[in-house]
Amino acid sequence: MLHFARFAVIRAAMALFTLLLVSLIVFTLMELVPGTCAERYLAFKNTQGSGISIADIEAEERRLGLDRPFLIRWGSWVGNVFVHGDFGDSCILRLNINDLLGDKFAISAAICFAALLFAYLIAIPVGIIAASSKSVLLNGSLRFVSYLGLAMPNFLLALMIMLVSTVLWGDSLTGLFSPEYRDAPWSVAKFLDFLSRAWLPVFILGWSATAFALQTVRALMLDENGKLYVTAARARGLYGRRLLWRYPARHALGPIINSLGFDLNRIFNELPIVAVILTLTEAGALLLESLARSNDQQLAGAIIFMLTATIVSLNFLTDLALALIDPRVRKSVMGR
């Protein structure tokens, strides 16, 4: 147990270090945007009719602490994020980012994790069946679907579904809430309404990940199926589902757990674009809005950092889970 705790601590330290690196990258990007926060505040004041001078901008920069060196500003930004979970204020909207995001990020994360779950619920059984079947047709069509996952990325799929549904039913199936619930506080009715509309984004976001996971599961199972221990088990009289679940499926589980983080990355990747196409009102759409229209670097940086932090924590959790599940990893971690 002590060994495991040590492994967990080391792994957590590595995850923290990755997050620090990511925060440095994100912060540098935010800094690269032309113009500072101070100029924006005063530009706003300018539109209100009061004249501004260079001295005003400098005073404002001092007030916001923008005259300090880059690394110190990064330090204080990261410190606030890690200690207080506070991303500061958005320069454009002049609101606290946490208030601005509110439950939007939670909704995004929930949709994405649902999409991930959906992807694996389909990919694992279908992949296992395909790997043990000799049917050329099944394997060929599976390969086709997997490649289609790349050739028809989520946002194209969303467009196509909108096209078909508009032509056939005259409803584009967009939005996360019905109009009457859009600004209502959370309630059972609102939640049910959300569920009745959320399945489409979940399916669309899970689509590419499903296609890739199918290929992964099938390849892993094929590898394991060819190994001698499977032949040995078969020689002892095991067959069919018992054989599959007891031996090759358990061995293939480790790499599958490992690939979860990458698939979440794939889902997050297209979240903003899909969100805009389907007019979802959550963090992805807000990210695109902040980047494409208002150049709001604080908000964009905060969202990108939160997306990455989610992936890093998932990777951390899957590594821990792997150490618990897989005896080979467990031995190397726990030393027994």
């Binding site: 990511v22 032309p34 060929g140 790349l150 584009s172 940086g301 990455t308 890093v312």
Partner: protein
Amino acid sequence: MSPAEIKTPPLAGAEDDASQRAREAYFTASQYQLIWARFRRNTSAMIAGIILIGLILTGIFAPFLSPHDPTIKGRDKDYTNGAPQLPKFCDDNGCSWRPFIYGVKRERSIKTNFRWVTTIDTEDRRYVQMFVRDWDYSIGPVKSNLHLFGVDKGFVHLFGTDDTGKDIFSRTLHAIYTSLAVGALGVMISFVMALMIGGIAGYFGGWIDGVIQMVTDAIRTIPIIPLFMAIAAFIPQEWSSEMRFFFISIIIGFINWPTLARRVRTHLLVERNQEYVLAAQLQGAGAGHIIRRHLLPSFTSYIIVDLVISFPYIVLSETALSFIGLGLKDPVNSLGVMLQNTTSADVLLNYQWYFIPVLFFIALVMAFVYVGDGLRDAADPYAGVKK
């Protein structure tokens, strides 16, 4: 010796003349001949390869193949948001050997409630001509105004027109060219970066490798398209479309390197400790000689395969960026640019031909993926042994 003769070696023993030659061919074949021989046997990859070559040629010769200028200069102002026109041979007025399309008339009168209405005039036949002379273009150094086909008067729109009257068929062909160009440029840049960074990590190993791996892993965890978006948002609005094009290609190439760098590093780490390297070292070969004559040839084929595989990702990144308006802009044609503003109900309900280019892009990416996969299998010397 043609690669067609290369087959798996027949069993020793019955040595007639033909099998002797086949054995000879197998054992003396170069690496590329072997890869080609294996690739040929993969039917789906071969079909994809033919489609891919066709699409690449279409992209390169896009101006020759398109009847109209894809920019605003070539717009058909009498036929905006026009439906696709399919050439036909027969109608109520009889048949003709030369395919024709109908002309259109645009009118506004009290009958149409004073709105512009486009009507098809079935009396006005426009015959399709081959090799017509129209707008000027240049493919590389060659300047010309010859086009594969056109009509004797007015315009022909095989895939319809968009809201400004630009020909979607011509735009699609040019968009294929743009995607290929962005992909090629992006792949080149990420390849050079991957070779340098992966090469350093793989060659030196140790803590340098550790640090580089940590940074690459950190970059790999950031979702890539939001990162593109963040960087693309810095492009000043007043930049010309060519500047945007190069900048977008450069940043896509810049962010795409970690995956490729990791592969280069792994190749190098594995190959560095191979026995043939040791043998060369023992025979007194210098480091430069080993890298040039032994290490590089050992993985160029893998690198080519990796490049082909990473190509579609770059094409798709560009499409995604342009689609949301952060990538390429109007005078440049790309799939993303063409799909902008298609999410409105008006387009979805009335002008479905806006989506025809999507089919070409699915075909392009699929062809790339199948070819890349076929190449990967063919380049793997152990692939055939297992089965």
